[in-house]
């Protein structure tokens, strides 16, 4: 930690930074207003897949970059799970060196264009920003600036490939190609390892591809960042499910030394209420996968999807929000979000709630489903709801929803999307008997190294956390890479010291026969 602070201090004292700071008084900087992210018209975007956030222009980005006062103690970095040198990349923007800014991002973040779009900056870097903490003003738009720098280099066809250390020939694998696996792969390849990423689906990217919709994160943008990793030397194997196609033990025999399990939180939860298996009732995973990964709404693609005119989405998280906004785009007349608490308790990002409201999503807060009914063909056509009120705060600190007796009522629906969380995928734990898992099925790991109970097997992201964000998964990927590097180096050191003990060939033969 001290080393990092020292490094940051040194970076800050470089001539170009000192000079830039001197160009504008701090008072002038803090007097600048934060610029809002330009957005597409709600009534246009809710009928198409165009991106909602349009990105900052060069002028807007320069303006926003001037707001950053380049603090001596950049608390924003502490708020970033992947430890981006935030003041440095912002000051590069202020200096007009946009390509350099993107390089700074890629020093610690394998997916800056993704993070600039989907990170909840308001509870991370921007929450820790000097403006938020000390001035009580809107923070520097760090996320918008990150997106700007990453988009600038891509749109100008000048994507740089980060430097990598000389190859050490040690084979390591990531199981899963979602955000944690990609972040892991990015760090390990930089350190010189021979990295292979195994993916069960036919496309690389995990939840970034199957889960998050195009209007929030276009798949093409994910592909550009994956391509950078490929150019750095990361190998990707699709249609390969570790634990089934081959086990970790099989892969060890093929020379893989250590593994990172980033297989995500697989199984969708249902509420186990009557009628939940009628036709037209989906998990959000199924609904979003059909549309985002399989492109079901494009008639050129073979995968179908049922999406009707009266769509109810159950839940209040980002995935619920993605589902209900997708349903609107597929032509729902009523796209309703049914959530058992009030809007204040919703886990979804404020930005998503605001966008959904603008797009005409109906919020049925303080409501909970009790039962579903179907027509003669078995397609859901009605649901029974119960009104709720808020009681005392529960373990999560949010006020507990309490059913109001006698408040039951019915609404017409033809499609329901259940988005009430996920459980860890049991495939990997099932295939490894010695792996220590929690009662919920998540993999238990050492919190510093992210190593599991099986030596050489590390884990992170939702398979450990049970359901979190892209950026926390990426933070885990980086942490596991550091943990794995340390583990492998220590092993190598041990072997070297062992070999040094040998005095004669006989010693070696003795050891080998043991």
């Amino acid at each position: 930690m001290d080393r990092i602070l020292e490094y940051l201090k040194k970076e800050r004292e470089k001539d170009w930074r000192v000079e830039l700071r001197g160009k504008m008084k701090t008072k002038e900087r803090t007097g600048l207003e934060r610029l809002d992210m330009p957005e597409s018209d709600p009534n246009v975007r809710n009928k198409s897949y165009i991106e909602v956030n349009k990105g900052l222009s060069v002028e807007q980005a320069m303006h926003e970059a001037h707001r950053c006062i380049d603090c001596p103690k950049p608390t924003c970095i502490e708020g970033c799970p992947v430890g981006i040198n935030i003041p440095k990349f912002i000051k590069k923007i202020e200096a007009g060196e946009f390509l350099e800014s993107a390089k700074v991002l890629k020093e610690t973040n394998a997916l800056p264009a993704v993070c600039g779009r989907v990170c909840p900056q308001e509870v991370q870097c921007e929450q820790a920003c000097f403006y938020t903490q000390k001035l009580g003003k809107p923070p520097v738009a760090i996320g918008n600036l990150e997106r700007f720098a990453a988009d600038y280099e891509r749109d100008n066809g000048q994507v740089s490939i980060p430097e990598i250390s000389s190859k050490n020939g040690i084979k390591v694998a990531s199981i899963g190609s979602g955000p944690s696996g990609l972040a892991f792969a990015g760090d390990m390849i930089k350190m010189g390892y021979d990295v292979t990423v195994f993916e069960a689906l036919h496309e690389i990217g995990g939840v970034l591809k199957y889960g998050i919709p195009e209007f929030r994160l276009p798949n093409d943008i994910v592909d550009v960042e994956i391509e950078i990793l490929r150019k750095m030397g990361v190998k990707f194997v699709t249609n390969f499910i570790v634990g089934k196609t081959a086990t970790i033990d099989d892969l060890k025999k093929e020379g893989y030394t250590a593994f990172f399990v980033g297989s995500g939180a697989g199984l969708p939860n249902f509420m186990n209420i009557p009628g939940e298996n009628f036709i037209g009732i989906f998990s959000s995973n199924e609904y979003l996968t059909r549309i985002n990964l399989m492109r079901a709404s494009d008639p050129e693609y073979d995968t179908p999807v049922l999406s009707g005119k009266k769509v109810a989405v159950i839940g209040g998280g980002n995935t619920a929000m993605d589902s209900v906004r997708t349903a609107k785009r597929l032509g729902a007349e009523r796209a309703m979000l049914i959530y058992r608490r009030s809007i204040e308790e919703m886990p979804a990002r404020n930005e998503e709630i605001k966008h959904a409201q603008e797009e005409g999503i109906e919020f049925l807060n303080l409501n909970s489903p009790l039962e579903y009914f179907a027509d003669k063909n078995g397609r859901v056509n009605k649901m029974k709801l119960q009104k709720m009120k808020l009681g005392e705060p529960d373990n999560s600190g949010r006020r507990r929803p309490i059913p109001i007796k006698g408040s039951e009522y019915f609404i017409d629906v033809d499609t329901v999307i259940v988005s009430v969380g996920v459980s860890p995928n049991p495939l990997i734990p099932k295939s490894m008997k010695d792996l220590d898992v929690s009662n919920w099925g998540t993999i238990n790991v050492n919190k510093d190294s992210l190593q599991s109970s099986v030596s050489g097997v590390f884990a992170g992201g939702d398979i450990v956390r049970g359901g979190a964000t892209v950026i926390l998964a990426m933070g885990d990927g980086r942490k596991a890479a550091a943990g794995m590097n340390k583990y492998i180096k220590e092993k190598v050191r041990n072997i070297i010291s062992l070999v040094k003990e040998f005095k004669t060939i006989g010693d070696i033969l003795d050891f080998a026969t043991k």
Binding site: N239, K244, N277, I279, Y301
Partner: protein, 277 residues
């Protein structure tokens, strides 16, 4: 990308494909399936692995033309590639020596039944198999099934081959004749429903291998969910085999029909396009 190395027509609508998939060939067991996709715009469809050759690194699939995706697959020729093949998925059949097994397969369901029958026979059981089809041309794999069965009864709806009647008629005859320790059934959901009702009557423990709609096949989407013993189960990670007497077949039948209309539309659209081309 997996290369097709052999192709054989069992009938106009049923085709056997042998494809290169060395890792799957090595790790698959009876009861496992694959998910595959034809073309970059194709859908993901599940198919049971019928057999494998670890030396050649191949697996065998049997496909019936049903809709657009299966037609696209059947239209591939030897030397062509299947865009994506993932597997082996699902749980392997729990095989042990229990005594006498009564296996039943209907239509193309005989294909996934074959490795199960093979495994039970090799585990030292006496295996009696009832094969059923609408008509003679649709009876498949009879010879291979005979190889692993002590006795085979063929039933056809129209009596054009074997005995005239339903699969349950053939089964009941056996059940009345001798003690059955375990029944195994694979076929259309409606057939398995009636097989289950029959064996329930005679209190014979029965395994049914379910074939539901799937998307990812790894537990992620829940499209394949069925109610077993009053609880929601996922066929891809909890199955595909379940205690037949606990399965809610009516619900399963309903869910299988979810995309019927869309499938018909897609089929007509595809045929139109095909004709024009």
């Amino acid at each position: 990308m997996n290369k097709i190395v052999d192709k054989e027509y069992f009938s106009d609508n049923v085709v056997k494909l042998v494809i290169e998939a060395p890792a799957i060939a090595k790790s698959r067991k009876a009861g496992h399936f694959v998910i595959l996709r034809v073309g970059s715009k194709g859908e993901r469809i599940p198919l049971t692995i019928v057999g494998s050759d670890t030396e050649k690194g191949t697996i065998t699939l049997i496909v019936q033309k049903m809709g657009v995706s299966s037609i696209k697959l059947v239209n591939l020729e030897v030397g062509d590639y299947i865009t994506d093949v993932l597997g082996p998925l699902g749980n392997a059949t729990h095989v042990e020596k229990v005594g006498t097994i009564l296996a039943s397969g209907g239509g193309v369901g005989v294909a996934p039944l074959l490795p199960i029958v093979d495994a039970f026979k090799k585990a030292g059981n006496k295996v009696i198999t009832v094969l059923a089809a609408r008509t003679k041309e649709l009876v498949i794999l009879e010879e291979q099934i005979r190889e692993f069965s002590d006795e085979v009864i063929v039933m056809t709806d129209d009596g054009s081959y074997g005995k005239k009647g339903l699969v349950t008629n053939g089964m009941e005859e056996i059940i009345k004749r001798e003690k059955i320790d375990l029944a195994v059934t694979v076929g259309p959901a409606i057939m398995m429903k009636f097989v289950s009702l029959l064996t329930k009557k005679y209190k014979i423990h029965t395994l049914a291998s379910l074939n539901t709609i799937m998307v990812d096949g790894t537990g992620m989407c829940g499209a394949c969910r069925v109610t077993v013993g009053g609880k929601t189960k996922f066929v891809c990670v909890d199955g595909p085999e379940f205690d037949a007497h606990q399965v809610d077949f009516d619900e399963m039948l309903n869910r299988l029909g979810a995309y019927k209309k869309l499938e018909e539309q897609a089929y007509n659209h595809y045929i139109d396009k095909y004709r024009k081309a």
